[in-house]
Symmetry: C2
Subunit: 471 residues, 2 copies
Amino acid sequence: MQKLLTFFSIFTLTSTLFSSTALAAIESSRAVNVDLLIVGGSIVTMNAEREVIENGAIAITNGKIDLMGTRRIVERNSRAKRVINATGKVIIPGLINTHTHIPMVLFRGISDDLDLNDWLTKFIFPAEAKNVNEQFVRAGTRLGLAEMIRGGTTTYCDMYYFEDAIADETKKAGVRGVLGETIIKFPVADNKTPEEALAYTERFIKKWKNDPLIVPAAAPHAPYTLETATLRSIKEQSDRLDSNVVIHVAETKKERDDILAQYGKTPVEYLDSIGFLSNRTIAAHSVWLTANEIDIYKNRGVGSAHCPQSNMKLASGVAPVPAMLAKDIPVGIGTDGAASNNDLNMWEEMDTAAKLHKLTSNDPKTLPAEQAFEMATIRGARALHLDKITGSLEVGKRADIVIVDMDNLNQIPSFNIYSSLVYSTKSNDVRTVIINGRLVMLDRRLLTLNESAIKRDANAYRDRIIKSLGN
Amino acid sequence: MQKLLTFFSIFTLTSTLFSSTALAAIESSRAVNVDLLIVGGSIVTMNAEREVIENGAIAITNGKIDLMGTRRIVERNSRAKRVINATGKVIIPGLINTHTHIPMVLFRGISDDLDLNDWLTKFIFPAEAKNVNEQFVRAGTRLGLAEMIRGGTTTYCDMYYFEDAIADETKKAGVRGVLGETIIKFPVADNKTPEEALAYTERFIKKWKNDPLIVPAAAPHAPYTLETATLRSIKEQSDRLDSNVVIHVAETKKERDDILAQYGKTPVEYLDSIGFLSNRTIAAHSVWLTANEIDIYKNRGVGSAHCPQSNMKLASGVAPVPAMLAKDIPVGIGTDGAASNNDLNMWEEMDTAAKLHKLTSNDPKTLPAEQAFEMATIRGARALHLDKITGSLEVGKRADIVIVDMDNLNQIPSFNIYSSLVYSTKSNDVRTVIINGRLVMLDRRLLTLNESAIKRDANAYRDRIIKSLGN
């Protein structure tokens, strides 16, 4: 719908108005109909100018941000079916979790504090072999989605098995996802060979290609768990289908050393040498990168997912995030699967990222709060190649919006909005979540998922998993 | 009151009974009166055997744990005025925050992401000079106490100004505290010279010496901010009054280097050479320690407070905690002041400690969840020299007890209780808090503090602080 709006040309943020159409003078009586109106509160836009609109308002129509500005102007120019009052709260772009294995939330805490190899081979792989099927994946996805929505995550990037079922559950819950079906050289729960997995991803990508919420992808596990020929086939498919590719890269020193020994090149150099990297690649972890490999990411437009808590817990190392940011690499923040975290909490992940890089760079000015928040929002959207539609609050973008309390005891007093968001705000301070214009949580009540059924399922799987491992 | 109890000598935890008196057979009809009875739930005792009692119960009389065991037996042997049902929940010892500057919560986020020197001299010191007085300290203490109680902290160790007012507020709120009045060589808000401060601590310690909740202490700021003679006077006072001494030690490399240059000894060696250290010392941070200095801590019985998030945020370094634990040093966990964290959240602090030391030791087996939880409870109590009365759930100890949800979406499924507590549980999962036998929070409602008044005060101070800094 075409909308004509009064534009108050006053050069302070308190009277800013952004609209999806060319701005032109109209009478205020010609207010337009909108589906949902959020009024009051401070809007942290994360647009290029990093504008923060005090006492703002956002009008949403057909799932997108149609009008944004100060409350007075937006209210005058819109007639809403539904209004949410956010006075005293902060309105932010939905958080973007750039790396997860969502169903693994059912393995939360199944084993901890072990060597990576023992953890994988003695617990995770046996537990997966004995438990993972489509129903398990669906139950785990619903639990993970519920935890993420409650923490204000509106978009996530996944890599697991039965990704078609994950897409189905994600769409039903109304969450945005870049969802990658795993391709790996040994037999797994859904596909027994990489060829089978490639056929699966072909069907999967074609099926979901134009979905408004789901971005289907292939997810080759890692350079060390796939043959070169398979990686080439995956890239060919992604070129042909114009689809994303999610992959673990250089997570551990051992991986880096092994790839170097096998191919005479470090992981990113190896992947680049076979033409694998593109501006549709999402490279998780990327801990053991050289300066040259960061340049390769830059030149190819690769997005990256930084997972500080998982990298700490598994003692993998610290990704060179400040160096990546210095080159403006699109590096987002991810929780990784809950089995190595053990939660899907983006607030703690932001806080950890900001603090960890201060420590390792020996400089408390490194990764300031605003930059950490950027990584969890617009830079994360860039990492997932989704920044045209999400990651910031801008007219024309999809309405992925989170309303956050700012007056809880752990948050007050507040002197700087980014500091409050990154260093003081908790998952529990999130009140209301809108994804693609749809309310998925209102005042902490989940609207698209059944919390008690999710809990019942999780506990039933718990008993089954314990039995399966003979404990 | 003398109580005689049936002792079921069955060698499984499901029928364990601990009582404060010698165990003897009685008739079940001779149940004793108790003030408060907690029934159901898993009791994580943190006693020497690390017993976990399923479907347990704890009876509290006169502020102490009088009877503990399985629900069936404890219920049979006690007649309670009040019963709290903890079925499905976890009952833990109250958390112990071993290092804070509690009123600084009013400076939460006043400045971040700066060099330590700029942070202190451009923001913290001016803000303190212009704002800190007794009323400020009282308001900040109430806010900090409210945040800590809501997160299950029942004991904290403090270092600030007007500590007598902090003690007063802490006692009113019913929280346990080791509270240290700052002694420093430059003029501060309450005392203009170390001599004045020593006179203050003399009165302060004598006034609070036998309080059931407050442990008064002197808090010499650090080796680099006090003359040797003053440090000796403080030690003399502490010997004479049998009181604790709280001090920052070796927080930064610069401090270590400066002390080494000035005295020819590293900080702990220097303090030991002047006879300063004892089994009443609580040494915060202790980041830059040599193996010899760890041995000195061990030999003198010094307690230490590890503050991982503050040390990361200020890029101070990483304390040698695994080496300290290997020597069984009583090292607890502290948040430090909220200005360098920016919260008083012990759950995130435990989680960070467990993960940070895995990373820096390059070994994911380092600091497993149970050990991190121990640092936040019984080892923290040892660090504060309070382990005879708190830090674990044992008959005869003061009833500092926290009841925690274990079925929230971020916690399920749960496979291991310590993993769930350290890696998945959040401050918000704390439901009920009892300190010294008194209910201070019930089902997340604060009972000893006025939340709305606290918020009003915090916001008023926010405006005043901004004005004072000319922003």
